[in-house]
Amino acid sequence: MTSVAVPFPLAGVDPAWSRTVSITDSDGITRTVHVLDSWNGRESGVPELTVLCVHGNPTWSYLWRRLVSLAPAQWRVVAVDQIGMGFSERTGSMRRLAQRIDDLGAITAALGIDGPVATVAHDWGGPVSLGWALAHPELLVGVVLTNTAVSQPPASPAPRLIRAVRSPGVLNAMTVRTQGFVRGTLRLGPHRMSAEIRQGFLAPYPTAQSREAIGDFVTDIPLDASHPSFAALDAVAEGVRGLQVPVLLAWGPSDPVFSDLYLNDLAQRMPHADVHRYVGASHLVTEDAPHAIPDILTWLSSLPSLSPLSSLSSLSPLPSLPSLPSLSPLSHRGHPSAHLARSDAPVVAADAPEARHDLLEGLRSRSRDESAAIVELGGSPRIVSWRELSATVDALAAGFMATGISAGDRVAVLIPPGADLTACVYACWRIGAVVVAVDAGLGVRGMGRALRSAAPRHLIAVGRGLALARAVRLSVSGQRILVGTATASSRALGADALLRDLIALGASTELPAAPYADAEAVVVFTSGATGPAKGVVYRHEALEAQRDALRALYSIEPDDALVAAFPPWAVLGPALSIATAVPDMDPTSPGTLTAPALADAVQAVKARLVWASPAAVRAVVETADELSPLQRIALEQVRLLMSAGAPVPLSLLERSLMVMPNADPHTPYGMTEALPISDISLSQLREAGIGNGVCVGWPVPGVTLRVDPLDSSGEPRGEPSDAVAVTGEICVNAPHLKDRYDRLWGTERAATTDDGWHRTGDVGHLDAEGRLWVEGRRQHVVSTDRGPVTPVAIEQAVERLPGIVHAAAVGVGPRGTEQLVVVVVTDEPTRQRSPLASLELLDQVRAAVTQVSVSTVLIRKSLPVDRRHNSKIDRQELAAWAADVLAGSGRTARR
């Protein structure tokens, strides 16, 4: 039997790539193998890199068509059809893993591939490619794996699924007699696959005879040691532990078979692997996630063994690659290209740093202090002294160790702000465990996604937290520790231990030395306002630098005390060595803070500092008349109000003075990845006046700012500078920067400049006074034919017009020639059905907006906002709506 002719045309495949090659297999039989080979027909030349792609079951080399077409010309991309699959020969007999590994070796030999080689594989192509990789260490320079497995992790549902498929009658019916298995695989993704791509995948499998190997593949999965392929798979699974080359794990976490469990298993076997989880993508991750193939190419192009410039330059025309950082050696901290240094696994540095002031220093320095360290003013007020807190942290740390929590382990902490949360966090830091902190504001679904993405090993939670973990199907292989008292329901939720019991458990456990400065400390999450929340990893040294930056910025002294009405900062007090009060409020709903509750919290610790989100400040201002005379006096001792988390209007800061007359209101600017970046006070804001954007003040100590100018289409040029009055993407460098995005290699790469600075995604400019102005988000820049236009100043100008409540500036049309459209909400509810503004309003808006010609003004009853913040305008949705209205569908109703 020989291979079948490939029925071109096939969407996305150049027939010129298609060729066959004859090999002699381990049985001495000659087999014809079909491959897609980007260098097919090329007579001479040596590829800079050969990318060897191996598909799984039931796909074929078609899976790699975009990789073949988008790869740089000096790379040879070879995607093989495994024997019996795709358009390779049908043998009529079962082919087992060990033989498939041999087959691949024979294929690369026949094709004259003599390195350097990077393997790229999917599904059961993974073990085959890894078997080849282990057999060819002299050629191997990199390994990319997508949704695959080398072993069955305990508790994985796949064995059951596979057993079900393998049961008599089912296997043959599903995989061979019908196209059920093939078609089912193509339907796993979040979007419906286009008909032409589906046809491409189905092309080699029209008949039962053509599909025999699909059934054989399923049969060859070893579920226990008695299986003929068990030894071969086990050799691969153990062998990869010794892989020295860079590894990328690109994963679709919605895969019903190769779930996160398999990703975590692989990551544990290859702790140096780079990881990118494409949230929402399923089994065919390279089909489901548009960025996956470009990311893989970028990753391959930065393999240390390649000459970076040549491969990068030829990658530049790739679509959807925001900016390809070149490989500069200037990085101040692990460069993304240095795969081994930027591991997604906990790293303990080999070179021990100097003795230093660690995060627990502030706590330790007051360990004999009987005064209050934490005061909770919730239902039943609770006061914890410095001495108690310090002792609890040490005892818990020992207890954690005794119960099996180790340095580097990730520990999800689902506890409301207060003494228990603070004690658990510092205890984790004490032993080098990594705290995974999810904000309840993400909602159940968002918290579930965030928790699963971080893959914590242990969980410490209040009863509600355990229930949530169960509801979102978070599986932790380590401890589930309950904060509170055991009840029937908490036992039902699988609590292994009670937090209070751990204190005794660790009595005889000796604590280790403090973690190294570059040990990971915490995984926190972005707001998730634009897409799924992203995990952000901080190391100890960055948190220490953040502590120091805040201390310097706000001249914090030990006799200062803080009211933390903004959950993330409730934990910070002990690090700053200042007492903290948590006011009586719902921490997930800042609007529930009242002026009396704030005053009581201030009084409880004699707080001179207040940290509250704008929504909380607004709620306090609005409840000011509920204050008693004594509470008013208490609030007079506040010297500093810090408000951040969303844009803080000047008027709100001004009104805050009615409640805290002696406070100097400040608003720091920053984001989950870097906070604070800059800071401005009320008086400085008044002084700054009106400008292009929102003035966010001067960089805080330790922060360096640059702006990467936008090109004519609105994209950053990749040349950050500190030039004044130039609009561009704001780039920041600081010792308190995040280490990286968590298991989002491609995102990290795109958000990092050549020399390791963080790209904030905000656009703005520096002024002659050294102040930073934020002009909007990078993706909200309107790209007109006269150049890029930023939205914030336009919106501010329009909102200053009488009768305008809200304004949003959006672009309509193709990038580079977008028309500026201003969408407004007016204060009078008109009854007209048309969304068009009157000529008078048009004239007013055009007079107010001098930057660019306003194409038109549309009126809506409200602007769409993101669900999480209820404040950030969803400009993408708004732009799509405006485009639809202005295309003239003729049936547009007012929204």
Binding site: G813, T817, L836, L886, A887, G888
Partner: protein, 337 residues
């Protein structure tokens, strides 16, 4: 090259030309002729009836091969504005003026070795009815263009581009208007005065228009740049798309008319247009019907264009903004009130 010289130079040093402008009584033809003559070029007009412009003119039908040949002789360049516009008339009428006329002109140019042709076309030659949002000049296609006018202009444009004239530039100005315009402005104003003006849909479609001076200026730039741009085809507009509702309201305001615009669903407008075309066609009326399918589509779907390439290649920028244009229009009406 000495042949190009009329005996002098413009202030910028460029040689003066003898230019034949066809369709010299049209708003665009008259404007181009005026600009050229004001800068010192020697202009000849070619059309059927006297222009009253004081410029040298030859009165002839554009399809009269002998007359056209005589008119073309001894010129350096031609700006071809003559065309049959509107929707009234048979396919043969449009074919004759727009296609045959262009062929006759080109043959005369080739015969006399006239090397530059600025061929005035229309964005509708590449428009099959869908919304056009920020696009460039797409290829003319007589097979998909809508209506006799667009179809024949598409064929004429292809003729011009395929001709042996060495330096052909095709310019497609979009919805040219200005004081004294009878085609667009005049019709809207007349209908509003008669209380018969209605908005199609909500008038929310964003459309490009071109103020007359800018269109004429672009043609002059095309003439000067023709040797560098041979074979180019460019859409010209003010680059300030506005909603149909705003444009109509501004025109009416300039004309001193205050009226509330009724709204007609887009589908109904297309239906009415189709019906009107049938009636007009059956009764051989020689005025334009109040609504046509083409007009209904034009006024209910977005039409605006990417002007970056146009501006770069023509080395041209619109000098009169829409706001200034409407002020001039208001002044023009005020002077006639």
């Amino acid at each position: 090259m000495g042949r190009r010289c009329v005996g002098g130079q413009r202030s910028n040093g460029a040689a003066l030309m003898r230019v034949l402008v066809t369709g010299g009584t049209s708003m665009l033809g008259a404007s181009v002729a005026r600009i050229l003559s004001e800068r010192g070029d020697q202009v000849t007009l070619l059309q059927r009836s006297p222009s009253g412009s004081g410029l040298r003119e030859i009165l002839s039908d554009i399809t009269d091969a002998d007359a056209v040949s005589a008119a073309v002789a001894n010129h350096h360049a031609v700006v071809h504005c003559a065309a049959r516009v509107g929707v009234v008339g048979s396919a043969a009428d449009f074919e004759r003026t727009n296609v045959t006329g262009t062929r006759v002109l080109i043959e005369a140019m080739v015969r006399h070795g006239v090397e530059r042709l600025v061929h005035v076309s229309s964005p509708s030659v590449a428009h099959s009815g869908a919304a056009l949002v920020g696009v460039g000049a797409q290829p003319a296609d007589p097979a998909t263009a809508r209506g006799h006018y667009s179809r024949t202009k598409a064929a004429a444009e292809l003729l011009a581009l395929a001709s042996d004239v060495p330096a052909v530039v095709v310019i497609r100005p979009h919805l040219v208007w200005g004081p004294g315009d009878t085609q667009l402005i005049g019709r809207i104003v007349d209908r509003a005065r008669a209380g018969r003006m209605a908005l199609i849909g909500n008038g929310t479609a964003l459309i490009d228009t071109t103020y007359i001076d800018n269109a004429a200026d672009a043609l002059v730039h095309a003439l000067d740049r023709a040797p560098q741009l041979r074979g180019e085809c460019l859409v010209v507009s003010n680059g300030e798309p506005r909603t149909v509702a705003e444009l109509i309201e501004r025109i009416l305001r300039a004309a001193g008319i205050s009226t509330r615009l009724r709204s007609v669903p887009a589908s109904a407008a297309r239906g009415a247009g189709a019906a009107a075309e049938k009636v007009w066609s059956a009764t051989s009326r020689d005025d334009d019907p109040p609504m046509t399918r083409f007009l209904a589509e034009q006024l209910s779907t977005a039409h605006w264009f990417d002007q970056r390439r146009t501006r770069d290649l023509l080395e041209w920028q619109p000098q009169v903004t829409l706001t200034e244009g409407f002020e001039r229009l208001a002044q023009w009406y005020a002077e006639r009130a």
